[in-house]
């Protein structure tokens, strides 16, 4: 299968990107500045991320659609206001996660942002669950561009008037060159920022405008170090079909009212796990030295028993040290529990820690 290119491919090339294949797309892993510089620029200024490989699924329908989607997602969608977003999951009957996603209420339906590697399968699952009753468009004609970091609001507001009035996890339609673009105040870096859905035709022009105003292109490499410092899950690593939202320590994303009703796919398991507890749970892990524990690194307790595994690990440029997430047996998941990480045959001390490793406040109550 030929790898796909996003509408910003030419711009990436012009910006001297190093490319990698990711979920069937040619994507920039980094540009000439390198991952550490790109990471810090995002934290201190404003980074642009081409995330056009992600799925933008529009589903149109009215009250019946809301009812049907509530059978699928553990959210109170009836109460979700127009242009408000929620983080959620597509699960199987065992509450295993097919994908994690952001769902936004739009006029006449919902917009769901899906992971690139999962989007085709999600589409199939959702079509089947919804019995093909609704118009569903996995829109390939739109690009998705994130702009993240403290200067992003100023830069974007210069181009698109009034985006500064958006609160975190809300969105709206705006105009760019007479084109309707949908902007949400959201992201995947732990910074204030926006995600912009723009037609492919205008994606390049829009992005070059952001660059003109001082933002810089950032590759997938820094996207990973940024999200890991922010304690955010990456599908295929922290989340997969063998892990549930309760095990992933994401129960905050499940509506309490929906749990009491217990009528969504996977709710039996979720309720059982909430009542009885889980065997393994996602935690933050901070190595004591500089050692980097990568994915699949084995975790041991002080008695040398194998208690878990790392799911993501790297060097955090803002933390200026190694950071990791992983799953450990529940009894070893308390903050400050000492554990050992086996890297290249040697066991290195580390501590279970709170997430995120790096925290800033999101913008709330603008209006």
């Amino acid at each position: 299968m030929e790898t796909k290119k996003t509408s910003l491919y030419q711009l990436h090339q012009d910006s001297k990107a190093k490319f990698v294949e990711f979920a069937g797309y040619q994507m920039p892993i980094q540009y000439s500045g390198g991952i550490v510089e790109e990471h810090k620029f995002t934290r201190n200024h404003s980074g642009i991320f081409d995330v056009s490989h992600m799925g933008q699924l529009f589903i149109y329908g009215n009250e019946e659609l809301v009812n049907d989607l509530e059978k699928i997602f553990p959210l109170n969608l009836k109460k979700l206001k127009l242009n408000h977003s929620k983080y959620s999951f597509l699960m199987n009957n065992e509450a295993g996660i097919y994908d994690d996603l952001i769902i936004t209420k739009i006029e006449n339906g919902f917009l769901i942002i899906l992971n690139a590697a999962c989007k085709e399968n999600d589409y199939k699952i959702l079509s089947k669950l919804l019995n093909n009753k609704y118009e569903m468009v996995l829109d390939e004609k739109r690009s998705l561009i994130a702009i993240q970091g403290p200067k992003s609001v100023e830069i974007l507001n210069d181009i698109i008037k009034d985006v500064e009035n958006l609160n975190f996890m809300t969105g709206n339609w705006f105009l760019f060159n007479d084109q309707k673009i949908y902007i949400t105040r959201s992201g995947y870096t732990g910074e204030d920022g926006f995600e912009v859905s723009v037609t492919n035709e205008f994606a390049d022009k829009f992005t070059r405008k952001l660059i003109e105003k001082g933002a810089k292109l950032i590759g997938l490499g820094a996207r990973d170090t940024l999200r890991l410092e922010a304690g955010l899950c990456l599908y295929g690593h922290e989340l997969d079909k063998d892990k549930t939202p309760v095990e992933a320590n994401l129960k905050w994303a499940i509506s309490k009212e929906r749990i009491s009703r217990g009528d969504f796919i996977g709710s039996d398991i979720i309720i059982k796990q909430l009542n009885d507890g889980v065997q393994k749970v996602r935690v933050g892990i901070k190595p004591e030295g500089r050692i980097i524990a990568r994915e699949k690194t084995k975790i041991f307790n002080q008695s040398n028993l194998h208690i878990g595994e790392i799911t993501s690990g790297t060097f955090g440029p803002s933390v200026n040290g190694p950071v990791a997430m992983g799953y450990v047996e529940k009894e070893f998941s308390k903050k400050d529990t000492k554990v050992f990480l086996e890297v290249r045959g040697k066991k290195h001390p580390a501590n279970i820690c709170r997430l995120p490793f790096y925290k800033k406040n999101y913008v709330k109550g603008v209006n």
């Binding site: 991952i35 980097i292 060097f315």
Partner: protein
């Protein structure tokens, strides 16, 4: 006179008397990206030609460092362990990795000179 030679694993080696100083090339650092972790062999240990003698890690991945010649490790550069970014800044100068007392200087003969290495690096990069 000191002589600098290069290996196919992108290490440089500089021989002065019977002491060889070893590091990784600028080309290697460009391929690795930002180096954020370094592990060096223990002083006093013996390393064998083409065997692993350390690790460098970028934000993306870990890579082994090989020694192009055999010998006893007589010194290591703690500065690049404390601040691995020094390797990106001055890979073929102050950011050397370790020094060996060489057992067999004829091992130098099979290594590349500067011109051969530059050609090799250019070809392997494309």
């Amino acid at each position: 006179m000191s002589e600098v030679k290069y290996s196919k694993e992108h290490e440089w080696i500089k021989l002065e008397g019977d002491t060889a100083t070893i590091g990784i090339t600028k080309h290697a650092t460009e391929m690795l990206g930002d180096i954020v972790f370094t592990e060096l062999p223990e002083k006093g240990s013996n390393v064998e030609k083409d065997g692993t003698a350390g690790v460098v890690e970028s934000t993306k991945a870990a890579s082994d460092v090989y020694t192009p010649v055999s010998g006893e490790v007589v010194d290591t550069n703690q500065a690049i362990v404390d601040d691995p970014s020094k390797i990106n800044e001055d890979p073929e100068g102050s950011a050397w990795f370790f020094k060996l007392k060489m057992k067999d200087q004829s091992e130098m003969e099979s290594l590349m000179n500067k011109e051969e290495y530059d050609k090799f690096a250019k070809e392997s990069a494309s």
